[in-house]
Protein backbone atom coordinates (compact mmCIF):
# COMPACT_ATOMS: atom_id res chain seq x y z
CA UNK A 1 0.00 0.00 0.00
CA UNK A 2 1.25 3.42 -0.85
CA UNK A 3 0.17 6.44 1.15
CA UNK A 4 0.25 9.77 -0.61
CA UNK A 5 2.07 12.23 1.64
CA UNK A 6 -0.34 14.74 3.05
CA UNK A 7 -3.36 12.72 2.06
CA UNK A 8 -6.36 13.13 4.36
CA UNK A 9 -6.33 10.75 7.28
CA UNK A 10 -9.42 8.87 6.14
CA UNK A 11 -7.65 7.74 2.97
CA UNK A 12 -4.82 5.99 4.77
CA UNK A 13 -5.63 2.66 6.34
CA UNK A 14 -3.25 2.07 9.21
CA UNK A 15 -1.48 -1.21 8.76
CA UNK A 16 0.30 -2.72 11.68
CA UNK A 17 2.34 -5.87 12.08
CA UNK A 18 -0.66 -7.90 13.25
CA UNK A 19 -3.20 -6.67 10.72
CA UNK A 20 -4.93 -3.81 9.01
CA UNK A 21 -7.20 -1.50 11.00
CA UNK A 22 -9.95 0.35 9.19
CA UNK A 23 -12.12 2.39 11.50
CA UNK A 24 -13.80 -0.08 13.79
CA UNK A 25 -13.14 -3.10 11.61
CA UNK A 26 -9.84 -4.92 11.37
CA UNK A 27 -8.37 -7.63 9.21
CA UNK A 28 -5.84 -9.77 11.11
CA UNK A 29 -2.71 -11.08 9.43
CA UNK A 30 -3.11 -14.52 7.91
CA UNK A 31 -0.61 -16.31 10.13
CA UNK A 32 1.50 -15.92 13.26
CA UNK A 33 4.56 -17.47 11.69
CA UNK A 34 7.52 -15.03 12.08
CA UNK A 35 8.59 -15.56 8.49
CA UNK A 36 5.12 -14.84 7.17
CA UNK A 37 4.75 -11.75 9.35
CA UNK A 38 8.21 -10.49 8.36
CA UNK A 39 7.36 -10.80 4.69
CA UNK A 40 4.05 -9.05 5.27
CA UNK A 41 5.90 -6.17 6.98
CA UNK A 42 8.05 -5.64 3.88
CA UNK A 43 4.99 -4.38 2.07
CA UNK A 44 3.85 -1.94 4.74
CA UNK A 45 4.58 1.74 4.22
CA UNK A 46 3.69 4.15 6.97
CA UNK A 47 3.65 7.90 6.74
CA UNK A 48 4.54 9.52 10.04
CA UNK A 49 2.43 12.58 9.20
CA UNK A 50 -0.85 10.84 9.79
CA UNK A 51 0.40 8.20 12.17
CA UNK A 52 -1.26 7.11 15.35
CA UNK A 53 0.60 4.45 17.30
CA UNK A 54 -0.90 1.05 17.83
CA UNK A 55 -2.03 -0.39 21.12
CA UNK A 56 -1.96 -4.10 21.86
CA UNK A 57 -5.69 -4.00 22.51
CA UNK A 58 -6.19 -3.40 18.77
CA UNK A 59 -4.56 -6.76 18.11
CA UNK A 60 -6.85 -8.35 20.70
CA UNK A 61 -9.97 -6.74 19.29
CA UNK A 62 -8.80 -7.82 15.88
CA UNK A 63 -8.84 -11.41 17.06
CA UNK A 64 -5.12 -11.82 16.44
CA UNK A 65 -4.23 -12.61 20.07
CA UNK A 66 -6.13 -13.26 23.29
CA UNK A 67 -3.71 -11.93 25.93
CA UNK A 68 -0.91 -9.41 26.26
CA UNK A 69 1.57 -12.21 27.03
CA UNK A 70 0.66 -13.81 23.74
CA UNK A 71 0.97 -10.46 21.94
CA UNK A 72 4.46 -9.84 23.29
CA UNK A 73 5.63 -13.40 22.63
CA UNK A 74 4.64 -13.33 18.95
CA UNK A 75 6.05 -9.81 18.51
CA UNK A 76 9.31 -10.79 20.21
CA UNK A 77 9.71 -13.86 18.00
CA UNK A 78 8.97 -11.78 14.90
CA UNK A 79 11.51 -9.07 15.76
CA UNK A 80 14.19 -11.58 16.75
CA UNK A 81 13.64 -13.27 13.41
CA UNK A 82 13.80 -10.01 11.45
CA UNK A 83 16.95 -8.80 13.21
CA UNK A 84 18.69 -12.14 12.74
CA UNK A 85 17.83 -12.15 9.04
CA UNK A 86 19.14 -8.60 8.57
CA UNK A 87 22.32 -9.40 10.48
CA UNK A 88 23.00 -12.50 8.42
CA UNK A 89 22.50 -10.48 5.23
CA UNK A 90 25.08 -7.94 6.44
CA UNK A 91 27.51 -10.63 7.55
CA UNK A 92 27.25 -12.43 4.23
CA UNK A 93 28.69 -9.47 2.33
CA UNK A 94 32.37 -10.05 1.55
CA UNK A 95 33.13 -6.36 2.04
CA UNK A 96 32.34 -6.66 5.76
CA UNK A 97 35.41 -8.82 6.33
CA UNK A 98 37.45 -6.37 4.29
CA UNK A 99 36.32 -3.53 6.56
CA UNK A 100 37.34 -5.47 9.66
CA UNK A 101 40.75 -6.17 8.10
CA UNK A 102 41.28 -2.47 7.41
CA UNK A 103 40.47 -1.66 11.04
CA UNK A 104 42.86 -4.37 12.22
CA UNK A 105 45.65 -3.17 9.98
CA UNK A 106 45.32 0.42 11.20
CA UNK A 107 45.28 -0.81 14.79
CA UNK A 108 48.41 -2.88 14.16
CA UNK A 109 50.15 0.20 12.75
CA UNK A 110 49.43 2.10 15.90
CA UNK A 111 50.45 -0.76 18.19
CA UNK A 112 53.69 -1.42 16.33
CA UNK A 113 54.74 2.24 16.33
CA UNK A 114 54.00 2.58 20.01
CA UNK A 115 55.81 -0.63 20.95
CA UNK A 116 58.87 0.25 18.86
CA UNK A 117 59.01 3.68 20.45
CA UNK A 118 58.79 2.32 23.99
CA UNK A 119 61.30 -0.46 23.32
CA UNK A 120 63.75 2.09 21.93
CA UNK A 121 63.35 4.33 24.95
CA UNK A 122 63.92 1.41 27.25
CA UNK A 123 67.01 0.30 25.37
CA UNK A 124 68.30 3.87 25.23
CA UNK A 125 68.00 4.10 29.00
CA UNK A 126 70.44 1.18 29.27
CA UNK A 127 72.84 2.27 26.57
CA UNK A 128 72.80 6.08 26.27
CA UNK A 129 74.93 6.12 23.11
CA UNK A 130 71.95 4.55 21.30
CA UNK A 131 69.62 7.45 21.85
CA UNK A 132 71.23 9.80 19.34
CA UNK A 133 71.64 7.09 16.77
CA UNK A 134 68.06 5.82 16.62
CA UNK A 135 66.59 9.13 15.62
CA UNK A 136 67.97 8.70 12.15
CA UNK A 137 67.05 5.02 11.89
CA UNK A 138 63.95 3.77 10.18
CA UNK A 139 61.70 1.79 12.56
CA UNK A 140 62.58 -1.44 10.76
CA UNK A 141 66.32 -1.00 11.23
CA UNK A 142 65.79 0.26 14.77
CA UNK A 143 64.09 -3.06 15.38
CA UNK A 144 67.09 -4.95 13.95
CA UNK A 145 69.39 -3.04 16.29
CA UNK A 146 67.21 -3.90 19.25
CA UNK A 147 67.24 -7.56 18.28
CA UNK A 148 71.03 -7.55 18.04
CA UNK A 149 72.00 -5.34 20.96
CA UNK A 150 69.08 -5.27 23.38
CA UNK A 151 68.84 -6.98 26.73
CA UNK A 152 66.99 -10.29 26.92
CA UNK A 153 63.59 -8.72 27.57
CA UNK A 154 63.98 -6.04 24.95
CA UNK A 155 64.99 -8.75 22.47
CA UNK A 156 61.92 -10.78 23.34
CA UNK A 157 59.64 -7.78 22.81
CA UNK A 158 61.42 -6.90 19.56
CA UNK A 159 60.74 -10.44 18.36
CA UNK A 160 57.06 -9.96 19.19
CA UNK A 161 57.00 -6.68 17.29
CA UNK A 162 58.58 -8.39 14.31
CA UNK A 163 55.82 -11.01 14.34
CA UNK A 164 53.24 -8.24 14.40
CA UNK A 165 54.94 -6.54 11.46
CA UNK A 166 54.85 -9.77 9.52
CA UNK A 167 51.16 -10.16 10.32
CA UNK A 168 50.62 -6.57 9.16
CA UNK A 169 52.38 -7.25 5.87
CA UNK A 170 50.26 -10.39 5.39
CA UNK A 171 47.03 -8.56 6.13
CA UNK A 172 48.01 -5.77 3.76
CA UNK A 173 48.53 -8.26 0.91
CA UNK A 174 45.20 -9.89 1.74
CA UNK A 175 43.44 -6.51 1.78
CA UNK A 176 44.86 -5.69 -1.66
CA UNK A 177 43.72 -9.07 -2.95
CA UNK A 178 40.16 -8.90 -1.59
CA UNK A 179 39.84 -5.24 -2.59
CA UNK A 180 40.72 -6.27 -6.13
CA UNK A 181 37.66 -8.52 -6.25
CA UNK A 182 35.20 -6.51 -4.11
CA UNK A 183 36.21 -3.05 -5.34
CA UNK A 184 37.87 -3.73 -8.69
CA UNK A 185 37.37 -0.25 -10.16
CA UNK A 186 37.93 1.79 -7.00
CA UNK A 187 41.10 -0.23 -6.35
CA UNK A 188 42.32 0.32 -9.87
CA UNK A 189 41.98 4.08 -9.35
CA UNK A 190 43.51 4.58 -5.91
CA UNK A 191 44.97 1.21 -4.90
CA UNK A 192 43.40 -1.52 -2.80
CA UNK A 193 44.33 -0.12 0.60
CA UNK A 194 43.01 3.41 0.08
CA UNK A 195 39.90 2.03 -1.64
CA UNK A 196 39.29 -0.23 1.36
CA UNK A 197 39.69 2.66 3.78
CA UNK A 198 37.10 4.66 1.83
CA UNK A 199 34.82 1.63 1.94
CA UNK A 200 35.33 1.32 5.70
CA UNK A 201 34.44 4.98 6.17
CA UNK A 202 31.25 4.52 4.14
CA UNK A 203 30.33 1.37 6.09
CA UNK A 204 29.26 -0.80 3.18
CA UNK A 205 29.60 -1.05 -0.57
CA UNK A 206 25.98 -0.11 -1.04
CA UNK A 207 26.44 2.83 1.28
CA UNK A 208 29.49 3.94 -0.70
CA UNK A 209 27.69 3.59 -4.03
CA UNK A 210 24.92 5.83 -2.75
CA UNK A 211 27.25 8.61 -1.66
CA UNK A 212 27.59 11.71 -3.82
CA UNK A 213 31.02 12.51 -5.24
CA UNK A 214 31.51 15.49 -2.95
CA UNK A 215 31.01 13.32 0.12
CA UNK A 216 33.45 10.67 -1.08
CA UNK A 217 35.96 13.45 -1.72
CA UNK A 218 35.92 14.53 1.94
CA UNK A 219 35.24 11.18 3.66
CA UNK A 220 37.56 11.09 6.64
CA UNK A 221 37.75 14.88 6.97
CA UNK A 222 34.70 15.14 9.19
CA UNK A 223 36.17 17.59 11.70
CA UNK A 224 37.32 19.98 9.01
CA UNK A 225 34.02 19.68 7.16
CA UNK A 226 31.90 20.50 10.18
CA UNK A 227 34.24 23.33 11.18
CA UNK A 228 33.61 24.71 7.70
CA UNK A 229 29.83 24.33 7.83
CA UNK A 230 29.69 25.89 11.27
CA UNK A 231 32.14 28.70 11.24
CA UNK A 232 32.92 29.21 7.60
CA UNK A 233 36.56 28.18 7.76
CA UNK A 234 37.98 26.88 4.49
CA UNK A 235 36.29 23.67 3.36
CA UNK A 236 38.43 20.52 3.28
CA UNK A 237 39.69 19.63 -0.19
CA UNK A 238 40.25 15.96 0.57
CA UNK A 239 39.80 13.28 3.19
CA UNK A 240 41.05 9.72 2.89
CA UNK A 241 41.76 10.22 -0.79
CA UNK A 242 44.71 12.42 0.23
CA UNK A 243 46.55 9.16 0.91
CA UNK A 244 46.43 8.43 -2.79
CA UNK A 245 49.68 9.76 -4.18
CA UNK A 246 47.96 11.30 -7.19
CA UNK A 247 46.47 13.71 -4.68
CA UNK A 248 49.26 14.35 -2.21
CA UNK A 249 51.91 14.54 -4.92
CA UNK A 250 49.90 16.92 -7.04
CA UNK A 251 51.04 20.53 -7.14
CA UNK A 252 49.55 22.40 -4.22
CA UNK A 253 47.37 24.64 -6.33
CA UNK A 254 46.00 21.64 -8.18
CA UNK A 255 45.12 19.35 -5.30
CA UNK A 256 41.58 20.64 -4.96
CA UNK A 257 40.90 20.06 -8.64
CA UNK A 258 42.43 16.59 -8.55
CA UNK A 259 40.44 15.72 -5.40
CA UNK A 260 37.20 16.87 -6.95
CA UNK A 261 37.82 14.85 -10.09
CA UNK A 262 38.88 11.81 -8.08
CA UNK A 263 35.77 12.04 -5.88
CA UNK A 264 33.60 12.10 -9.00
CA UNK A 265 35.39 9.17 -10.59
CA UNK A 266 35.27 7.13 -7.36
CA UNK A 267 31.53 7.74 -7.11
CA UNK A 268 31.15 6.18 -10.57
CA UNK A 269 33.64 3.41 -9.81
CA UNK A 270 31.76 2.44 -6.63
CA UNK A 271 28.54 2.10 -8.58
CA UNK A 272 30.20 -0.12 -11.18
CA UNK A 273 31.75 -2.17 -8.36
CA UNK A 274 28.38 -2.65 -6.69
CA UNK A 275 26.22 -3.36 -9.72
CA UNK A 276 28.63 -5.06 -12.11
CA UNK A 277 31.49 -6.12 -9.89
CA UNK A 278 34.09 -6.22 -12.64
CA UNK A 279 36.76 -3.93 -14.06
CA UNK A 280 35.63 -1.58 -16.72
CA UNK A 281 38.75 -0.71 -18.73
CA UNK A 282 36.97 1.90 -20.82
CA UNK A 283 35.86 3.76 -17.72
CA UNK A 284 39.28 3.42 -16.07
CA UNK A 285 41.12 4.85 -19.08
CA UNK A 286 38.76 7.80 -19.23
CA UNK A 287 39.03 8.36 -15.49
CA UNK A 288 42.83 8.25 -15.53
CA UNK A 289 43.08 10.77 -18.31
CA UNK A 290 40.61 13.04 -16.53
CA UNK A 291 42.83 12.83 -13.46
CA UNK A 292 45.90 13.64 -15.53
CA UNK A 293 44.22 16.67 -16.98
CA UNK A 294 43.13 17.79 -13.51
CA UNK A 295 46.66 17.37 -12.19
CA UNK A 296 48.06 19.32 -15.12
CA UNK A 297 50.42 16.52 -16.02
CA UNK A 298 51.41 12.98 -15.27
CA UNK A 299 49.94 10.94 -12.46
CA UNK A 300 51.80 7.77 -11.80
Amino acid sequence: MYIIPGAPRSLSMPEYWFGEVRGKSCTPAGSRDPEYLARRLEGIRISMDSFSPLTWEMARDCGFVATREEYLRILHDLCMHRAEMSLSLVAARPEQELIQMVHMRDQLDEAINLLVEKAIEWHAARSPEFSRKYRVLRPASALETLLAEGGPHVREIATGIRHLSEARAGITREIERIAGTVLPNCSALVGGLVASRILAAAGSLEGLARLPAGTIQVLGARTALFAHIRSGSLPPKHGIIYQYRGVHRAAKGRRGKVSRTLGAKLAIAAKIDLFRGERDEGFLDAARSALERAGGGLVR
Binding site: E15, F51, S52, P53, L87, F226, S231
Partner: protein, 200 residues
Protein backbone atom coordinates in the same frame (compact mmCIF):
# COMPACT_ATOMS: atom_id res chain seq x y z
CA UNK B 1 14.05 2.20 41.62
CA UNK B 2 15.71 -0.35 43.87
CA UNK B 3 18.67 0.86 45.94
CA UNK B 4 20.80 -1.29 48.23
CA UNK B 5 22.99 0.78 50.57
CA UNK B 6 23.12 3.60 48.04
CA UNK B 7 23.83 1.28 45.10
CA UNK B 8 21.37 1.23 42.22
CA UNK B 9 20.37 -2.32 41.26
CA UNK B 10 17.78 -4.16 39.22
CA UNK B 11 16.11 -7.53 39.67
CA UNK B 12 16.78 -10.02 36.89
CA UNK B 13 18.88 -12.82 35.54
CA UNK B 14 22.53 -11.84 36.02
CA UNK B 15 25.50 -12.36 33.75
CA UNK B 16 24.57 -10.07 30.85
CA UNK B 17 27.88 -8.20 30.67
CA UNK B 18 29.78 -9.29 33.77
CA UNK B 19 27.90 -6.92 36.07
CA UNK B 20 28.33 -7.32 39.84
CA UNK B 21 25.59 -8.88 41.90
CA UNK B 22 24.58 -7.84 45.42
CA UNK B 23 22.20 -10.10 47.31
CA UNK B 24 20.77 -11.45 44.09
CA UNK B 25 20.34 -8.01 42.52
CA UNK B 26 22.22 -6.78 39.46
CA UNK B 27 24.34 -3.69 40.07
CA UNK B 28 23.56 -0.89 37.59
CA UNK B 29 26.75 1.12 37.22
CA UNK B 30 26.40 4.90 36.66
CA UNK B 31 29.80 5.04 34.96
CA UNK B 32 28.70 2.61 32.29
CA UNK B 33 25.10 3.67 31.89
CA UNK B 34 23.84 7.19 31.34
CA UNK B 35 20.40 6.26 32.59
CA UNK B 36 21.89 4.91 35.84
CA UNK B 37 23.89 8.14 36.20
CA UNK B 38 20.64 10.06 35.75
CA UNK B 39 19.11 8.24 38.73
CA UNK B 40 22.23 8.76 40.83
CA UNK B 41 22.00 12.48 40.14
CA UNK B 42 18.43 12.81 41.30
CA UNK B 43 16.43 11.93 38.17
CA UNK B 44 12.83 11.49 39.17
CA UNK B 45 11.30 9.78 36.15
CA UNK B 46 11.29 6.23 37.44
CA UNK B 47 10.58 3.02 35.59
CA UNK B 48 8.01 0.66 37.02
CA UNK B 49 6.39 -2.61 36.12
CA UNK B 50 3.54 -1.59 33.80
CA UNK B 51 5.68 0.80 31.76
CA UNK B 52 6.24 0.47 28.03
CA UNK B 53 9.42 2.04 26.81
CA UNK B 54 10.87 3.04 23.47
CA UNK B 55 14.65 2.99 23.72
CA UNK B 56 16.56 4.65 20.85
CA UNK B 57 20.25 3.84 20.60
CA UNK B 58 20.12 0.53 22.42
CA UNK B 59 23.78 -0.26 21.64
CA UNK B 60 25.01 -3.52 23.19
CA UNK B 61 21.94 -3.90 25.36
CA UNK B 62 23.62 -3.43 28.75
CA UNK B 63 21.43 -0.53 29.90
CA UNK B 64 18.50 -2.04 28.03
CA UNK B 65 18.81 -5.20 30.13
CA UNK B 66 18.41 -3.18 33.34
CA UNK B 67 15.49 -1.22 31.91
CA UNK B 68 13.87 -4.53 30.94
CA UNK B 69 14.29 -5.73 34.54
CA UNK B 70 12.03 -2.90 35.65
CA UNK B 71 9.62 -2.39 32.75
CA UNK B 72 6.85 -4.29 31.04
CA UNK B 73 8.40 -4.08 27.58
CA UNK B 74 11.32 -2.28 25.93
CA UNK B 75 11.36 -1.52 22.22
CA UNK B 76 15.10 -1.37 21.57
CA UNK B 77 16.19 0.41 18.38
CA UNK B 78 19.79 0.06 17.23
CA UNK B 79 21.25 0.75 13.82
CA UNK B 80 24.80 -0.64 13.97
CA UNK B 81 25.75 -4.18 13.12
CA UNK B 82 28.19 -5.13 15.89
CA UNK B 83 26.16 -3.75 18.83
CA UNK B 84 23.03 -5.35 17.39
CA UNK B 85 24.67 -8.77 17.56
CA UNK B 86 25.19 -8.32 21.31
CA UNK B 87 21.74 -6.83 21.77
CA UNK B 88 20.17 -9.89 20.13
CA UNK B 89 21.98 -12.17 22.58
CA UNK B 90 20.51 -10.11 25.43
CA UNK B 91 17.04 -10.08 23.87
CA UNK B 92 17.14 -13.86 23.40
CA UNK B 93 17.23 -14.22 27.21
CA UNK B 94 14.80 -11.40 28.00
CA UNK B 95 11.48 -11.84 26.30
CA UNK B 96 10.32 -8.32 27.08
CA UNK B 97 13.01 -6.76 24.86
CA UNK B 98 11.79 -6.24 21.31
CA UNK B 99 14.92 -5.73 19.16
CA UNK B 100 14.56 -3.40 16.18
CA UNK B 101 17.51 -3.25 13.76
CA UNK B 102 16.63 0.14 12.39
CA UNK B 103 17.64 3.77 12.09
CA UNK B 104 16.04 5.89 14.82
CA UNK B 105 16.02 8.79 12.35
CA UNK B 106 13.46 6.88 10.25
CA UNK B 107 10.71 5.85 12.66
CA UNK B 108 8.39 4.96 9.78
CA UNK B 109 10.42 1.77 9.36
CA UNK B 110 9.51 0.41 12.78
CA UNK B 111 6.22 2.26 13.31
CA UNK B 112 4.06 -0.79 12.47
CA UNK B 113 5.75 -2.68 15.35
CA UNK B 114 5.93 -0.22 18.23
CA UNK B 115 2.97 0.41 20.52
CA UNK B 116 2.18 3.61 22.32
CA UNK B 117 4.79 4.05 25.07
CA UNK B 118 4.94 5.69 28.50
CA UNK B 119 8.59 6.64 28.26
CA UNK B 120 10.93 7.49 25.43
CA UNK B 121 14.63 7.16 26.21
CA UNK B 122 17.09 8.36 23.62
CA UNK B 123 20.86 7.93 23.68
CA UNK B 124 22.07 8.24 20.11
CA UNK B 125 25.34 9.56 18.72
CA UNK B 126 23.98 11.69 15.92
CA UNK B 127 24.38 15.30 14.83
CA UNK B 128 20.61 15.84 14.78
CA UNK B 129 19.56 14.47 18.16
CA UNK B 130 16.70 16.93 18.53
CA UNK B 131 15.27 15.96 15.15
CA UNK B 132 15.33 12.27 16.03
CA UNK B 133 13.52 12.88 19.31
CA UNK B 134 10.89 15.00 17.57
CA UNK B 135 10.30 12.43 14.86
CA UNK B 136 9.74 9.73 17.49
CA UNK B 137 7.29 11.75 19.58
CA UNK B 138 4.21 10.22 17.91
CA UNK B 139 4.92 7.02 19.86
CA UNK B 140 4.72 8.79 23.22
CA UNK B 141 1.31 8.68 24.86
CA UNK B 142 -0.27 11.83 26.30
CA UNK B 143 1.33 12.59 29.63
CA UNK B 144 4.38 10.47 28.76
CA UNK B 145 7.95 11.63 29.31
CA UNK B 146 10.94 11.66 26.99
CA UNK B 147 14.42 11.42 28.46
CA UNK B 148 16.80 12.70 25.81
CA UNK B 149 20.51 12.24 26.42
CA UNK B 150 22.30 15.09 24.70
CA UNK B 151 25.74 13.97 23.65
CA UNK B 152 27.20 17.41 23.16
CA UNK B 153 30.37 16.15 21.49
CA UNK B 154 28.42 14.20 18.90
CA UNK B 155 26.58 17.30 17.81
CA UNK B 156 29.43 19.72 17.72
CA UNK B 157 32.97 19.14 18.93
CA UNK B 158 33.94 22.78 18.93
CA UNK B 159 31.00 24.49 20.58
CA UNK B 160 30.61 24.72 24.35
CA UNK B 161 28.52 21.78 25.66
CA UNK B 162 26.15 24.15 27.49
CA UNK B 163 25.47 25.98 24.21
CA UNK B 164 24.84 22.70 22.41
CA UNK B 165 22.31 21.68 25.06
CA UNK B 166 20.63 25.07 24.79
CA UNK B 167 20.41 24.58 21.03
CA UNK B 168 18.81 21.14 21.38
CA UNK B 169 16.40 22.41 24.06
CA UNK B 170 15.38 25.27 21.79
CA UNK B 171 14.61 22.92 18.90
CA UNK B 172 12.59 20.61 21.13
CA UNK B 173 10.64 23.55 22.54
CA UNK B 174 9.96 24.89 19.05
CA UNK B 175 8.31 21.57 18.23
CA UNK B 176 5.95 21.95 21.17
CA UNK B 177 7.81 20.12 23.91
CA UNK B 178 8.31 21.37 27.40
CA UNK B 179 11.73 20.88 29.00
CA UNK B 180 11.09 20.25 32.65
CA UNK B 181 14.62 19.74 33.77
CA UNK B 182 18.19 19.46 32.54
CA UNK B 183 20.51 17.12 34.44
CA UNK B 184 24.20 17.12 33.61
CA UNK B 185 25.80 13.72 34.03
CA UNK B 186 29.05 14.91 35.60
CA UNK B 187 31.02 13.30 37.15
CA UNK B 188 29.94 10.02 35.54
CA UNK B 189 29.88 11.11 31.89
CA UNK B 190 31.56 14.18 30.44
CA UNK B 191 29.64 16.59 28.23
CA UNK B 192 26.41 14.64 28.50
CA UNK B 193 23.11 15.97 29.77
CA UNK B 194 19.68 14.42 30.13
CA UNK B 195 16.67 16.51 29.14
CA UNK B 196 13.36 15.63 30.78
CA UNK B 197 10.72 16.51 28.19
CA UNK B 198 6.96 16.39 28.25
CA UNK B 199 4.34 17.45 25.73
CA UNK B 200 2.40 20.32 27.10
Amino acid sequence: MIWIDGVLVSRGEAGVYGERVIRGFRVWNPRRSKLAAYYYLGGEIEIDAPMRILYLGAAHGTTVSHVADYADVVYAVENAYAPMRDLLAVAARRKNIVPLFSDAAEPALYAPLVEEVDLLFQDVAHADQAGIAIRNMPFLKDGGVALVVVKARSIDVAERPADVVRGVSGKLEDSGLFIRRVIWLEPYHRDHAVLECTRD
